[in-house]
């Protein structure tokens, strides 16, 4: 295996062994890495961490419900060209001037290997992943307007994230390396928190962890995740809450729970357990 291209986590991102394994497999096999997992488990952060660890540029393609596959390849600005032609502007003959590469095109035409993050692919239309099969397989596409083929100079490392809002098509899945990020257990979570708060008191951390996993175990609609616990600790630190009060009062619960019903049901169970 090429040791220069091996990912071993980074100083501000704690990855499980399995995740690192999957990332390295995908890099070695030159296949897209599909990452699934609960919101807030650091799917997007992974690409940033890999980019930092390997010292490669990161190109992010954020997918929205209106995104089409074509947008990632290139956009041909006809209107601008029409306007320019009215005034006989220079370079109107040159179609290339009006063809602008999208994120995928940008990644392909880069001279150095880059990391391409296709973020939240499941937000797009159900057909979206299928429209990208050829491009991700062959790492090239054709622009009819300029009769040019854009092909990758260096195959980018492709990372795709999904929140599982939609089923992805089989043909697409078969081309990916898959990893599911499990919700971190206490041990790993402590490591993650330590990366963000170096000087946190152990006592405070213990109380936070106990309360946090207790809340996650409740029957609530939206379970708090890693990013929320980090915000919460920040709030507790700024508010100067003593460690003993955390379990008792659960201050700033609104940082952890975003729905009124959830806060209510937490309050109810808290009274029941007399925390």
């Amino acid at each position: 295996m090429d040791t220069n291209n091996t990912f071993n986590g980074s100083s501000d991102y704690v990855a499980s062994q399995e995740l690192m394994r999957a990332a390295n497999i995908a890099i070695a096999l030159e296949k897209p890495l599909l990452i699934k997992g609960e919101p807030g488990t650091g799917k997007t952060m992974l690409a940033q961490a890999i980019s930092k660890a390997l010292g490669k540029k990161l190109i992010i393609w954020n997918i929205k419900s209106t995104t089409k596959a074509q947008d990632g390849l290139y956009v041909y600005d006809v209107v601008q060209r029409l306007y320019d032609s009215q005034f006989g502007g220079e370079g109107v003959d040159d179609i290339k001037k009006y063809v602008k590469l999208g994120k995928l095109g940008e990644a392909f035409s880069s001279d150095e290997q880059v990391i391409l993050l296709i973020d939240e692919i499941d937000k797009a239309d159900i057909e979206f992943p299928n429209d990208l099969l050829w491009e991700l397989d062959k790492m090239e596409f054709y622009i009819p307007e300029t009769k040019e083929t854009v092909s990758a100079k260096k195959r980018p490392i492709v990372i795709i994230t999904s929140n599982a809002e939609k089923e992805l098509p089989d043909a697409f899945l078969r081309r990916c390396i898959f990893h599911y990020i499990q919700f971190p257990d206490k041990e790993l979570m402590e490591k993650i928190v330590r990366v963000h708060f170096e000087n946190l008191e152990q006592k405070l951390l213990d109380e936070v962890m106990d309360t946090f996993y207790w809340i996650r175990g409740l029957d609530i609609n939206k379970k708090p995740s890693t990013s929320e616990v980090i915000d919460w600790i920040q709030a507790l630190e700024i508010g100067g809450v003593p460690a003993e009060k955390i379990k008792e009062e659960i201050p700033f619960a609104g940082v952890l729970l975003k729905k009124n019903e959830d806060i209510d049901s937490m309050e109810k169970s808290r009274r029941r357990f007399k925390f």
Partner: protein, 399 residues
């Protein structure tokens, strides 16, 4: 060399394709399995399995295939405890010993372990022979040998058998998810484009642009228009509980497909039991209180909604015609059939999907009576992918 494993995975219901298998072979050639069973486990899972709901199936098949490696007798508790607390991890990697170890087959290692367990009566750490921690022997925890059986301990250099053996993805196993895509594809056809909706004019209107430019003596004048958007709104009414429990699997698949179809302009979902009465529930658990009045729905949800009712239409005739009927905390004085007729009268586009399979048994039962009555009132379709297509076509044209 592993092709048996490939067929075993397929026979256990994992849809592994030849392409993925070849990718795995390529990966093995590149040495991505780290020459260890653990490595092989994670590698093959990442390459062959594409959903966390299938991880459990994979773990099951993996254990079955490599089971001979697994069955060693239960270990004494003291031994496990001690192995779980490694005392040291010396830098004692011994290439010659590792090479020797790699030459051993899993069966041999297992046999050796059993023999060694009989001989061993004390703790050993950092050695090459005994079961211990941090050592170069093929057994024990936290050791530096490339292969072997992990005895006790957690994570880090976790050996594959234990990993798969924990079957920690059992909870994710959810066969319901399979097939939603087919339903979803059917719902895609449920769209109607409209340019009348309030939206910003963001799309180039080519025809008008040409016209306007001509009018403008050839000076370019660009005209924009509103984009085409799906204007279909859906009201989904689902029967829940009782006889519907048999079809829970199918119905949740349908529900998932509808809920995940993001192209509807609006989607409203309500639940009922057996037949629609004075209250519609907002939750499939049908808790009294979590409801809205049916008349409110009829008044407030516009007649342009396309209505899909899902139910088996099988009930006691009195539940359909009875005047005073007590149903999940709500009293009703109007027979259910009247409510059904109200829905039919208000909504132009309405279909009934029935998950029940028509069989000889049902035909003779008195439940068949209500089935036939409702079928004569509504366009009823069985809940299959094919029939769903038809039902959706029906929804797109006025009755």
């Amino acid at each position: 060399m592993f092709s048996d494993f490939f067929y075993l995975l397929r026979s256990r219901g994992l849809d592994v394709s030849l392409n993925e298998w070849l990718t795995l072979m390529e990966a093995l050639e590149k040495g991505l399995a780290d020459s260890s069973l653990t490595g092989f486990y994670y590698l093959s899972r990442a390459v062959l399995v594409k959903s966390e709901t299938e991880f459990d199936k994979f773990d099951g098949a993996f254990l079955e295939y490599f089971k001979d490696v697994q069955n060693f007798e239960e270990l004494p508790k003291e031994l496990l405890d001690w192995l779980n607390n490694p005392k040291e991890n010396p830098d004692n990697y011994d290439a010659a010993q590792d090479k020797k170890n790699l030459g051993l087959s899993m069966e041999e290692i297992q046999k050796m372990l059993l023999e060694r367990l009989k001989e061993q009566d004390s703790e050993h750490n950092g050695g090459k022979y005994w079961v211990g921690t941090g050592g170069m022997s093929v057994f024990g925890n936290n050791g530096n040998a490339s292969n072997g059986i992990r005895v006790g301990g957690v994570s880090q250099k976790r050996r594959a058998m234990q990993g798969a053996g924990e079957r920690q993805f059992k909870d994710f196993r959810d066969d319901n998810v399979l097939g939603t895509r087919q339903f979803q594809m059917a719902f895609r056809k449920l769209r109607q484009f409209s340019t009348k909706i309030d939206a910003l004019k963001t799309e180039l209107d080519i025809d008008s642009s040409i016209d306007e430019t001509c009018e403008n003596a050839g000076n370019l004048k660009i005209v924009y228009q509103k984009p085409r958007k799906n204007s279909v709104k859906v009201l989904l009414l689902m029967d829940s509980g009782g006889s519907m429990d048999y079809y829970m699997h199918l119905c949740s698949m349908l529900f998932n497909a509808v809920a995940k179809s993001s192209h509807f302009k609006d989607l409203k979902v309500y639940y009922f039991h057996n037949c629609i009465y004075s209250m519609l529930y907002t939750d499939p658990t049908l808790y009294p209180g979590k409801w809205v009045e049916t008349d409110w729905v009829l008044k407030n949800i516009g007649s342009d909604y396309k209505v899909i009712i899902v139910g088996d239409a099988s009930m006691d005739p009195s539940e359909l015609y009875g005047r005073s009927y007590y149903n999940y905390g709500a009293r009703t004085d109007v027979p259910g059939i009247e409510y059904l007729k109200k829905f039919k009268g208000r909504y132009k586009h309405i279909v009934w999907l029935n998950p029940m399979v028509e069989t000889g048994v049902w035909r003779t039962s008195y439940w068949m009576e209500t089935y036939n009555i409702i079928k004569s009132e509504f366009d009823m379709y069985p809940l299959t992918v094919e029939a769903l297509d038809k039902a959706i076509k029906k929804l797109m044209v006025a009755k």
